[in-house]
Amino acid sequence: MDLSISLLLPLTFLLPLAGTLILSLSNGRLGERASATVGVTSMGLSALVTVLIAWQYIAEPQVYGVTLWRWISVGDFQPSIGLALDGLSLTMLGIITGVGFLIHLFAAWYMQGEKGITRFYAYMNLFVFSMVLLVLGDNLLLLFFGWEGVGLCSYLLIGYYYEHSENGWAAFKAFVVTRIGDVFLAIGMFLLFFELGTLDIAEILNRAPQMWAEGDPTVELAALLMLGGAVGKSAQLPLHTWLADAMAGPTPVSALIHAATMVTAGVYLIARMNGLFLLAPDVLQLTGIIGALTLLMAGFAALAQTDIKRVLAYSTMSQIGYMFLALGAGAFDAAIFHLMTHAFFKALLFLSAGAVIVSCHHEQDMRRLGGLWRQLPLAYAGFIVGGSALAALPLVSAGFYSKDEILWQELATGHGGLLLAGMIGAFLTSLYTVRLIILTFHGKPKSDNARNAEAGRGLVHGVPLIVLALLSTFLGAWINPPLENVLPAPAEGEEFWHLILELAAAGVVIAGIAVGAWLYLRRRGWLAKHTSSGWGAWLWTFWNHAWGVDDLYDRVLVKPYRGLVRFLRSDIIDRTCSLFAKLAWLLHQGLSRTQTGKLRFYATSMVAGATLILLALALVP
């Protein structure tokens, strides 16, 4: 049994890698169809392999380790290219390959007729390769390999439409901002290796409690640095600014990378290093606070967006905020459960948004859409199902079960403040979800693009939407991630309070939906009036700019950096060193003046010189 898993496990990332290699070495000889076939097939096979692995794992759950080869070997420094499969990585693997396959499939429809499909699929496969490596790596260095790899692919795919420089700059921003987080993670690795002498994750979790007592400053620092990495990758405050701009990429990319998988890597990291974080209660507390702040900030920002994808981007931030909230309460399994359901429903929402965007001839502005529910029934259904899961509609949606679990854990562990933030967030979520759906699908079409929408056809378009829609309902919540042995058990509490909380949460959600429906169906005029003048307008702009953090960074970081670069551009140190050359030049100028070419001048100066020497000899004894 073990043998077969160790054979299959490398295939999960080697197959996408093979896809990338075939596509990139084809050097443009593959056509659109062939490229899509290679890209989707390699992903499909990878997903198939994952199913086989899951099958065997469930039959015999244990930690499976495969060491492919020793990566670096110097003294104690022995990171290997080694994989470890446990319940957590299997859950992640399933999400990545499963959802990834559906999105690849959908992309074949979405990207048809675009230039450079080969490039697109090469990047996408490379992304899956890196992401799988991230979750399977048994040591931090290999995890970092995947971590950076997904960052690079994210960069490449955001900048996929390279002809527009803004896209390139958005990609640039995404990479650089996440890299700031990565640096924290890297320093965290250095610290852990220095203190514990190993990079193996299991070994670190094993040695950490022996080395440090709870709350030891060193372990707090290590956990804080890890948190820095997670915050960057998962677009949480204060490194969240890149995600909204990242929507410049093709929509399947947003679905795969910026909703379902890569942005949740931070959550995975913290869950993976749970032993370390449990030793650092202050950092864990901070994680929860960051999550709470982000989910509120992003929730308000999502209310004031006009671009359909940006609404989803802010909702992603907000949902990951929920996951951080759960992590902060030590409810790692609730976080991972929400990660899974979020992957389903957010991928569904993004793909449906992609369907809308392509059908409406690349119109993404909600103010120019509307009334689409008749023309695009499938996308509408996708939005309804996905939206209800996002808003956590009670009982029928997957999101309800996962979000409820998070809120319950907050209550059970006594994090009142975080619970309150979660509740407010739930209200905001349902409000902006309703707004999103009503503006996009109801009312009258507000532009020709919306009036002439053409619904997508074909299995490639329909199957991913339908499968994801099914997974976003309560069916998805039935999937029980095998996390028992990996993560600490959830906190227990009185069932009575749980029931009360469920009712309260359901009440909040329904209230949010009701208020939203009332506002956006009945009182549109009133809203429009109040958001275009006075305080309302200011608030609208403020939220639209996501609380102005971007502008703040622009002023505090980007501008000074640019100034510094401009100041240094001509290499002042080199200029200073060149002063010697300048000095020699001046001396040369001065001396060459004396070369008059006149014989008499030379004779005179000779006499003067001789006289001076004689005088000197005479005067100095």
């Binding site: 990139s24 050097n27 443009g28 080869w69 020793r70 990566w71 670096i72 070997s73 110097v74 003294g75 420094f77 290219i81 230039k115 260095l141 970092f144 390999f145 950076e148 790899g149 690079l152 960069y155 490449l156 900048g159 390279y162 002809e163 527009h164 420089s165 896209n167 390139g168 700059w169 990609a171 640039f172 990479f175 650089v176 890299r179 700031i180 990565d182 640096v183 890297a186 320093i187 690795m189 250095f190 610290l191 290796f193 220095f194 510094l564 670069v565 401009r566 240094l568 551009r569 290499d571 140190i573 080199d574 200073t576 060193c577 060149s578």
Partner: protein, 514 residues
């Protein structure tokens, strides 16, 4: 004798190229290619057949060299032709051979005037570099050190491009020459000072590495001599206040010159520090280490910041070299086994990635006849597979895992952390800046709207194979750096032992002349 041939082959090949010019333009190219190919094959054969991980246990008694050659040169002053090879020099000579082949291939179409003389200079540089890597008689080392400058001067002065803003190739060549020559003078003074100190103590003149390592030198004198060596190497590395020649030389040199400069000439400096500065003056170096590391950090930031502000693509790459060499300097002066091994990997990796970037910018120049990035933009769709390769080299230069640069940088940082955690923390910020300047290059060159719809000529087979070859090596050493680590392990262990435990040298090694 093998070692002598390693040095002689490029020199002889160079002369042949020069004479072959009479026949036509093509024979010199093939002769040069054959020469460097032969050099590379010989080195690889040595690598294959030799065992470079021996003397860890044997300690100081066993010879640390895998191969040695000794012949008297000027016996009166104890100057010998003393060549020796260990894992470190072997790796760097193999690198020289490989980049030599690349340099010949990448100038196949670029150089059209005085082809024979060009290859004479090119091969003589490489011969001088191989000599530097092999010589362990300090006088001989100095001889080769100076020898490689002259052909480089001609290479820049005769075949260079005159750049923007009134920067001429002659000016750049002169600047390069003066900087390196002046620093060489300091090294000569330091070498002589050391030899005289040795003479004063023992009554015997010697320039031998092993002898001088045990020369009894007072602490103060050792500090001064160490500084002499350090500054000489610091100019070549380059370390920041002394880097002025590099951007000009790179920007004005022909592609082959840039490849050699970035790929191997800079490495001679790191090699010199590893081979001479540290082992000859362990205590002084130890005391100097904080300053050196600080200089390394300054270099990382200064290089990265300046790279962001450049318009000339080759100047940008030149400044990135300064930034990367900052990591090398930090690693060398951290002196732990891990950091030193990382330095070796980083040197090799940087040679590949910088060579790749320079070759790529040379190819862009051949097609659109400018190196000004404001004139570029939107090249992605117009250049066939070249942008894909640039992307890979850019990724390597920003230290993407999977490339050898990542291994090098991270080993240096891992190895330095126990010694100087704050230095590592600050240097890591350099990784963000690396991302900024690397992606800046991508953005300005390949992204954005195309300046014209006309497709440019794609890569031909020669160019494709060349870039693919470099890329394959970058990835190979990124995923499996073990061959490098094993080969250099013993040599680095020796340096680490000398550096971190200076007391050991004086007790174990026999002192005085024997």
């Amino acid at each position: 004798m093998m070692l002598v041939w390693l040095i002689l082959i490029p020199f002889i090949g160079g002369l042949l190229c020069w004479q072959a010019e009479r026949i036509g333009d093509t024979p010199p190219r093939w002769i040069a290619l054959g020469t460097m190919g032969l050099e590379l094959l010989l080195t690889l054969w040595l690598w294959w057949s030799g065992d470079f991980q021996l003397p860890e246990i044997a300690g100081a008694q066993a010879s640390q060299w895998a191969l040695e050659f000794r012949a008297p040169w000027i016996p009166r002053f104890g100057i010998e032709i003393h060549l020796a090879l260990d894992g470190l020099s072997l790796i760097l000579i193999a690198l020289t051979g490989f980049l030599g082949v690349l340099a010949v291939v990448c100038s196949w179409k670029e150089i059209i005037g005085r082809v024979g003389f060009f290859h004479l200079n090119l091969l003589w540089i490489l011969g001088g570099v191989v000599g530097v890597f092999l010589a362990i008689d300090l006088f001989l080392f100095f001889f080769f050190w100076e020898l490689m400058l002259v052909p480089m001067y001609f290479l820049i002065a005769l075949w260079g491009h005159s750049g923007t803003q009134g920067k001429t190739r002659i000016g750049a060549a002169t600047k390069f020459f003066i900087y390196t020559q002046a620093s060489g003078l300091l090294m000569l003074v330091a070498i002589l000072g050391l030899a005289f100190a040795h003479h004063a103590a023992t009554g015997v003149y010697s320039f031998s590495y092993d002898e001088l390592r045990n020369a009894p030198v007072s602490d103060e004198l050792a500090m001064w001599l160490m500084l002499g060596f350090f500054i000489a190497f610091a100019v070549k590395l380059p370390v920041v206040p002394l880097h002025g020649w590099l951007p000009d030389a790179h920007a004005q040199a022909p592609t082959a010159g840039s490849v050699d400069l970035a790929g191997i000439l800079l490495k001679t400096a790191a090699y010199g520090m590893l081979r001479f500065t540290l082992p000859l003056f362990p205590e002084a170096s130890q005391a100097f280490a904080p300053v050196a590391m600080a200089l390394g950090v300054v270099g990382i930031f200064y290089g990265a910041l300046l790279a962001c502000g450049q318009q000339d693509i080759k100047r940008l790459i030149a400044y990135t070299s300064i930034s990367h060499m900052g990591f090398v300097l930090i690693g060398i002066y951290a002196g732990t086994q891990l950091a030193l091994q990382g330095v070796v990997v980083l040197m090799v990796a940087h040679a590949f990635s910088a060579a790749g970037l320079f070759i790529m910018s040379g190819q862009i120049y051949e097609r659109i006849h400018t190196r000004d990035m404001t004139q570029m933009g939107g090249l992605w769709g117009r250049l066939g597979s070249l942008p894909g390769f640039s992307l890979c080299f850019v990724a390597a230069s920003l230290g993407m895992p999977g490339t050898a640069n990542f291994i090098g940088e991270f080993m240096v940082l891992f190895g330095t952390f126990p010694v100087a955690p704050w230095v590592v923390a600050i240097a890591s910020v350099g990784l963000v800046l690396a991302a900024i300047y690397s992606l800046f290059l991508m953005q300005r060159v390949h992204y954005g709207p195309a300046k014209s719809d006309e497709p440019l000529e794609g890569l031909d087979h020669r160019e494709y194979v060349m870039l693919l070859g470099i890329l394959a090596l970058v990835l190979f050493f990124g995923l499996y750096p073990q061959p490098l680590l094993e080969t250099s392990g013993a040599a680095m262990h020796e340096i680490q032992r000398l550096f971190t435990d200076p007391a050991l040298t004086t007790t174990i090694l026999p002192t005085g002349a024997s």
